[in-house]
Amino acid sequence: MPVKTMRDALNEALFHEFERDPTVFAIGEDIAGGRGGTGELDCTGGVFGVTRGLLTKFGEDRVLDTPISESAIVGAASGAALAGMRPVAEIMFSSFIGVCMDQIINQMAKFRYMFGGKSKCPVVVRFVCGAGMSAAAQHSHTNYQMMTSVPGLKVVVPSNAYDAKGLLIRAIRDDDPVLFFEHVMLFQSECEVPDEAYEIPFGEAAMPREGDDATVVAFGNMVNVCAAAIDALENKGITCDLIDPRTTSPLDEETILESVEATGRLVVVDESPPRCGLTADIAAMVAQKAFTALKAPIQQVTAPHTPVPFAPELERAYLPDAGKVQAAIEATLA
């Protein structure tokens, strides 16, 4: 199977769905690039090149570059979705989500409920998220944990190129609003990715590692950090289940609970700050539903309760790394 970067895998997903369904269109800032410029059109394809080539292939009507007006972008996407289209909106960095938050949490998320189940709003909003590039406090957040708390939204956090493609195709075909978080450190990450279109279902976790001693649950790029941590522990004779929920809403509780029933120990890892996040969400769910299986305190590994710092050394201290994950696994086994 061909090896592809997550960038290319996402780009392919978009091409598949644009071809398949004429109601799919894209809207965002610089998703083509070059409008109103003196050079080439379609030279950008979004800051990380995920939408590159769409304008050239599918034309200006379906690939809409916009002014810097995130509320209008998201609102237009959800309005078009209510009116029968399947828009894919792009908000460059999820850290900008605050600028268009009402349109996400109060509008698209709630239409169907407020309207008595008589509407659907099949919109996808794509975001770049995460730290690791010294992009500092206003460009490095995860935000998906906040969005997981909002009823009416589905939230996708892929950890690799293969999943990213299948999840994005699934997201575009979904009849509900989907927020899709692409981790900034993963665009160049590679794995085998089929050329054809395929769907990965929502609410079904992947389990990239299987083991006996503890259950580790992680999100996005932290899945890769945890895989490295777990692999390094193998020569100490410690093996772990590693669960990648892939979608945080809906959440595959079953896979997590089954694993904890078997291992009795849980470590939850996310690069968001510690309060009211996904690590707490999963830990609390397990402390309620699999309490009797637990043999040790549940360990949460998160960023500290701080904004994301600029200096690389601070950012490294901010992010959970393999060392911290190992320490948490060992703590739960102690």
Binding site: F25, S69, A76, G79, G116, P250
Partner: protein, 323 residues
Amino acid sequence: MQLSEQALLRAYRQMKLIREFEERIQREIMLGQIPGFTHVYSGQEANAVGVCEHLSDKDYIISTHRGHGHCIAKGCDVKDMMKELFGSSEGLCKGRGGSMHVADISKGMLGANGIVGGGPPISVGAALACKLRGDGGVSVSFSGDGSTNQGTTFEAMNMAVVLEAPQVFVFEDNGYAENTGASFSTGCEDIASRQASFGFPVFSADGTDFFDVYDKAGQAIEHARAGNGPAGVYTKVDRFYGHFVGDPMGYRAKGETEYLKEHKDCLKNFRARTLGAELLKAEQLDAIDEDVMTEIEASVAASREAPRHDGSLVEEDVYVSYA
């Protein structure tokens, strides 16, 4: 624009329906039949109807917290709306939405909206859908004077121009946003020219005069439908009552609303105009009045009888499917 007798009667009926709906629900609220916050549209009927009479089901509108008038004008079923306000499970939105969230997508009515400025961006999206499909549809957002200061409204205006969306922005300036006068909250000389400076024509109308609104809205909608990008309609109008039902209105001069009801009533105005020009006969209008009263009465009676929720379905309708 010349209106047929039938069209005139229809317009009057629509306005009257809105008026009596709003008058009646105020009583029902006082009687404790309708829960929540409710904002009535009395006095502004010529705006919703003057605009929506140009639209068909393939066109979209989106409204505000003060949404009943726009909903009725766009063809939402009055009985189902009444049931919705009463919180019945048979309401237009199954009692989940209430006054601030009445919607009927099948009629192109994308909802009242509880967030000031929430509507315009969404409307632009519906307009883009029409444009992409090339079906000749347009989308209309209604906003108040207060909402013209919200960032989302401005963004939507600029984006509609840039993307050449078949979008019409209607601004109903009723002089107040809650308890604050428009003369205070809008720093510009006049709202219509501020909005026009975004790059689209804005047609101003007397919002108490159905004919003026109908005429200007027609021009704006024609502009948008013909593929010339967005257009605007600005109307000056008056709100007969308070911001919400129950508002003590200390911020308004004593007697102001009585004066308005006497001198700025679009229904009286319409009657005088059509009778004076001998376009319609008093009996025709009287018959409509009676008919409307019966319809409203029936919708209230039905709503009182209509089934209520028992709480068991609270988790339904969040997602099409949650997996």
